[in-house]
Amino acid sequence: MPEVFIDGKRFEYEGEQRLLQFIQDQGMEVPFFCYHPSLSAPANCRQCLVKVGQPVKDRETGEYELDENGERVIRWFPKLQTSCNTMISDGMVVHTQETDDLVKRAQKDTLEFILINHPLDCPICDQAGECPLQIQTYKYGPEGSRFEVKKVHKPKRIQLGPRVILDAERCINCTRCVRFTDEVSKTHQLTITSRGDKNYPITAPDREFDDAYSLNTVDICPVGALTSADFRFKARVWEMNQTPSIDITNAKGTNIDIWTRDNLVLRITPRYNEAVNDHWMPDEGREAYRLFNENRVSRPHQKIDNEQVKSSWNNAFATVAEQLEGVDKKDVLLIGSSHASVEENYILSKLSSLLGYNEPVFTSHTEKGKGDGFLLTDDLAPNANGCRLLGFNEVDNSKLSGLAEKAKVVLLLNDNLVDREVLSEDQLNNTFVVSFSTNHSQTSKTADLVIPITCIAEHAASYVNIDGRIQRSFPAKETKYTNRRLDFEMNEGRLDRYGTNFDNWVTEENKVDCLPFWIVASKLADQLGVDGFDYGNGREIMEEISSTLAPFEGVSYARMDEESGIVLDQEKTTVKS
């Protein structure tokens, strides 16, 4: 196998590889700004300079020439090379800043150049704390400044588009944002304007940067030049807590990170998954963070005299049991949801089979033309395929409204059927509707009883995306009944770890009074005299699913974590016993 020597260590490699990427893949580091693994490599920041040489081969024998000590004779490139666009070749010898003083000096020099016109405003810059320039300056940069003349001034606080704000003075001209719109989103909305040290990225005059993926430029900006209009000034990154999750605004299953502080979700950023979304996500998915904070159903709500009032949990469970026991089993309709997880839908279906109701039905939530062939899909729900693989009857809207009209009791799992005009209020007039909801909506308002359940940001659960890949979430924010310090799946940020209830940044307000659907089901089961819902968490439910349902065979949280999701065999079907 071909070999490469980096800082005296031998590595084997295969295929075409960029030196910088290879070094990173080995867990080593060379500082850089403009390089991004999913974009072209213009080698313009000149930060990743390393010393590169090739062994000299005897022309006739093809053997490596050796010096008097028996070491290979190395012919060094006369200049330092940018490792981002250097392709590894057999026998290549590389010295990074770890072993070569000239490389170290060159990297320091480049940082000095980058910093001369960069504002010293880290204390008020959103990027601080997750800023490659800041981090690499600490590690590799010069101390102090020799720049005693005037900095270049450029436009600041430019609203590039509805979601992105530019501070041109902070820009270091890496061109990642421009390359993103040219190579990934392909809207070509950005360019570099002007020349030399007056350069900065901008849209065409009077045009908005309204690219459906515009916020990715904020993520990849290696400085604070591009910031999110929404997230700006809301939090310092080190105060937040980062939890892996899945985008629920469509069926792509884009991998995301949920950022919380004091149990409020403050932003969503994409999480790398080569097989799903690479490094990117649509702007729409980021807006969804509000769903996790705002308008949440907290405590059960019951309709009394046409008005929903808060009720106790005990009363809620008793009411459901009373309603179910008062009607014929065939008059109970269970509606599953493509907006709920595999685990929640499974629980609904288990409830129906144990109690002898009809199998749950569901209707998909699609909007033609929403999909773009990239990360947006026509399907606006994260788990339609999960419902299908669970063997749910997929019905169209008219069929569903017919069923609902006929039913005496409807158990509706988190799906805003009234809001999206599948059902009308009138159709539900003579039906007792129990809605298990995360958020208040027209649908929940219509319901006779609303039981608050946890949302994706509060539980670990799985979703099957449009390509049949099952992926899962982690709990990111606490509810009234969970505790970060006791739940090993939950992360702790600095504030979580060091804050106490006596600190003014810690409140109880942001904890929603809701329960995971399987606990709700378990309480209902108690009331109705069945059991089999003794789950501690989603993981246990998935263990049961994978051991009983063919499509989910072999699926576990551990594997999903290890393999960044598992593609399910969609040919397999759930056979109902």
Partner: protein, 431 residues
């Protein structure tokens, strides 16, 4: 070192013939015979390779400043695969002190067109673009006319001279950017983009214009090809300096009595160029310094110039380069601080802004130079300037950073006393 006999040199690039810019006059004087010969005389020119070999052996060193053997460059082109291949002729001519190619456009455009066509034939090129800086509006028009005349005369187009060689020839106008004289930046500009130099590899011979094999040559370089084919490589090599042979268009400017462009052999003594060719210093002043080949080539003090000739070897001995042979002559009254500040201003203005060391370094150099020029500088600023040049050199995609750094380094080193005299006296804290 044998002295070059420049006084008896008969110009060939731009000969002493009236109206040679007109195609009929050019043809009457043997024009397009070289092209005809390579296309039709199979005894003399068996194939394309024989042409490349002849040009390679003539050792025409690129006249755009880099001085690379043109024939050798041609030989880097991969074998033809039936797809398009390009020749890009570099007429961007923007390095301060350089104003020679415009003479070819004006006085003998066909010698260039013919040379480019021969190059195109030799490398199996399908289209030729000549990139001319946008400020040369007059010369762009002249070239457009000359190319049209050559098309009309059947020198360009389909099956030239009845051979199976066909090629197109287009003029592309720049729009004000020195960097587009850098060959890969020129390709970007030709493709309609911002003139950002490309990362190499891939080299233009592999992936040039529109991802296809491309060779880039300077206008004067290609014009010499015509003479080499007409008169042979040996003739070319017999002219001027051994390691940098052939005629050169010298552009002389600055404080001389008769500035202008002169076609003379390479290797003319610098003093001959100043004193005889350019008829001496203006107003009887004394010579102070010379920039031999465009603003990026290091300035040389008058006392270093004894016996120095205009060829790469001799100039290297005094720590400078031939560059574009655009020589800038400075008299004893020249303020080296002002002069250097203006050069740093130029490179600051022209840096494309792609690479960090150049984008930031050129601006820093100019700002510190301005400070010194205004009498605000300190001695430590001179050392800072030298440091900045070290940090810029060899660290960027193209050579503009080096071109900006060299004059600073060498002007300060060679005229340090003048710079120190302009600086504020250092104030030392007294303990």
């Amino acid at each position: 070192m044998s002295t070059v006999d420049w006084k008896n040199y008969e110009p060939v690039l731009i000969p002493n013939i009236k109206d040679i810019h007109k195609i009929d006059v050019y043809r009457k004087n043997g024009g397009y015979e070289a092209l005809k010969s390579v296309l039709t005389d199979k005894k003399k020119w068996a194939d394309q390779k024989s042409v490349i070999e002849e040009v390679k052996s003539a050792n025409i060193r690129g006249r755009g400043g880099a001085g690379f053997n043109a024939g050798l460059k041609w030989s880097f082109m991969p074998p033809a695969d039936g797809g398009p291949r390009y020749l890009a002729c570099n007429g961007d001519e923007s390095e301060p002190g350089t104003f020679k190619d415009r003479k070819i456009f004006e006085y003998n455009p066909h010698v260039f067109i013919e040379g480019a066509l021969i190059a195109a034939y030799a490398m199996e090129i399908t289209s030729i673009y000549v990139y001319i800086r946008g400020e040369y509006k007059a010369y762009i028009q002249m070239m457009e006319k000359a190319i049209q005349d050559a098309y009309d005369a059947g020198m360009i187009g389909k099956n030239i001279f009845g051979s199976d060689f066909s090629v197109d020839f287009y003029v592309h106008s720049g729009a004000g950017a020195y960097i587009c004289g850098e060959e890969t930046s020129m390709l970007e500009s030709l493709e309609g983009k911002r003139g950002y130099p490309r990362v190499k590899p891939p080299f233009p011979a592999q992936k040039g214009l529109w991802g296809r094999p491309t060779t880039i040559n300077n206008i004067e370089t290609l014009s010499h090809v015509t003479s080499v084919i007409n008169r042979g490589a040996d003739w070319f090599k017999s002219i001027g300096a051994e390691n940098h042979p052939g005629p050169i268009l010298y552009g002389i400017s600055g404080h001389v009595n008769r500035p202008g462009v002169y076609e003379l052999p390479s290797g003319v003594p610098v003093f001959d160029l100043i004193n005889d060719v350019a008829q001496g210093m203006r107003n009887g002043k004394k010579l102070k310094a010379v920039i031999p080949g465009g603003s990026s080539t290091p300035v040389v003090r008058a006392d270093q110039l004894d016996g120095v000739t205009m060829d790469s070897d001799s100039l290297r001995e005094v720590g400078t380069m031939l560059g574009t042979a655009g020589m800038v002559v400075m008299d004893e009254d020249t303020d080296m601080v002002d002069m250097l500040w203006r050069i740093t201003h130029f490179y600051h203005h022209e840096s494309c802004g792609q690479c960090t060391p150049c984008r930031e370094g050129t601006g820093w150099l100019e700002k510190v130079m301005l400070k010194i020029k205004n009498g605000e500088g300190e001695i430590k600023d001179l050392d800072l300037l030298l440091d900045i040049t070290t940090q810029m050199e060899g660290r960027t995609i193209c050579a503009l950073a080096d071109a900006a750094a060299w004059p600073v380094r060498h002007t300060i080193t060679r005229f340090r006393d003048e710079f120190e005299a302009r600086c504020k006296k250092s104030v030392h804290a007294v303990a």
